[in-house]
Amino acid sequence: MDNKSSTPRITCAYLSQYVGKLVTVVGKVVQLRGEEATIDADGTIHAFLNREAHLSANNGVQLIGKVNPDLSIKVLSSVDLGQGVDYNLANAVVEVTHRYKPLFVYEN
């Protein structure tokens, strides 16, 4: 029952490699329009939110969701991270997790 699946951390640049997969994105909320949000995660990502989402513009957010073929994200879970998120750090972590995949990602 060990849950051997990961939700890789990605930025905008990695979207195309993860179509149809679950991913984690940390970014800044640029714009909110109803159930649609624009997130900056080293590039602009469009996200379709679920009902439970409570985001605020200019705050950090962690999204977990599925990458659509048009490279938007269908959000399954979102957490407002407030102010003070170090986005450079978050982007660096994305690079590190891709560089040392055996520590972070189950491949398949």
Binding site: V26, L81, P102, L103
Partner: protein, 283 residues
């Protein structure tokens, strides 16, 4: 795991000799072998118990206590413990926090659950336990994370410790003056890579050296030592022979051959007069 068998099980005190290279001198003292290692959940799930009761070892090094950071997916209060399912994006694992029946019920009863709600980020300290083939962490302590950056910090720290054990301490040993550079490389990649693919070796004509250094940072310690030695030798395009390297670095011929294969694979060096003479491939 792979490195585990190499330590042999015969030494006294029931502890592996391997743990003593971590700097402790006390033979057989369990207390001296205590460690607290930051890990990802995937590292814990990937570990296979080689025999029942085997000590947890990651990257060939024994680990007693671990710390993880993740998000709470579910909370199940039970009579004797509270079971949290923790997910850090690399995997998910159950964490059991035993309820202290001595303490007054109000604080840690199932109802309060320490006020840790689903979706909260938490840091956990504890030990990996296996029960009926299923892994869980028996937590000494769980606390909610206030600053989200701690989540990212933890992932970098786990990577750092992994690299420390697999590639050696940054700038340690006979790594000559470039050793310090090795230290910086990790940080550089971490922070610089946000902008593009420093890490992939964006080998522009101008950035040849730094691109090489970035690639070198992914190599084993032997490869780094060898590369630095060649770099500091007057061989130039003639290259430096295997035996000169062996003498200069005090590495075995076999280690050098392996390191050379690695460096050749990375395109950092090339062979010159014969198969046992190498020079740095400069842009």
């Amino acid at each position: 795991m792979a490195g585990y068998g190499g330590y042999g099980g015969g030494d006294g005190g029931g502890f592996m000799s391997g743990s003593q290279q971590g700097g402790s001198q006390a033979g057989g003292s369990k207390y001296a072998d205590e460690s607290l290692r930051p890990v990802t959940i995937k590292q814990l799930l990937d570990w296979e118990e080689t025999f029942p009761g085997a000590e947890l070892a990651i990257d060939g090094h024994p680990v007693t206590q671990v710390t993880i950071v993740g998000q709470v997916r579910s909370v199940k209060p039970q009579p004797t413990n509270i079971t949290y399912r923790i997910d850090d994006g690399t995997g998910a694992i159950d964490v059991k926090k035993w309820v202290d029946s001595e303490a007054q019920g109000g604080e840690d009863g199932g109802s309060g659950a320490g006020a840790i709600a689903p979706d909260a980020f938490v840091r956990v300290w504890g030990r990996l336990k296996i029960l009926g083939g299923k892994k869980h962490i028996s937590a000494n302590f769980i606390r909610q994370i206030e600053d989200f950056n701690e989540v990212n910090y933890h992932l970098l720290e786990a990577t750092y410790v992994h690299l420390f054990f697999t590639k050696g301490a940054p700038g340690s040993g006979g790594a000559k003056q470039e050793g310090g550079g090795g230290d910086n490389m990790f940080v550089d990649q971490g922070y610089g890579a946000g902008g593009g693919d420093v890490a992939m070796g964006g080998a522009g004509p101008g950035g040849g050296n730094s691109a090489m250094q970035a690639r070198l940072a992914t190599c084993s310690r032997n490869a780094q030592i060898m590369c630095n030695f060649i770099n500091n030798s007057p061989g130039g395009t003639e290259g430096v022979n295997l035996h000169v390297i062996a003498q200069g670095t005090r590495m075995s011929v076999r280690d050098i051959t392996n390191a050379a294969d690695e460096l050749l694979g990375q395109g950092i060096i090339y062979t010159t007069q014969d198969d046992e003479t190498w020079a740095i491939l400069d842009y």
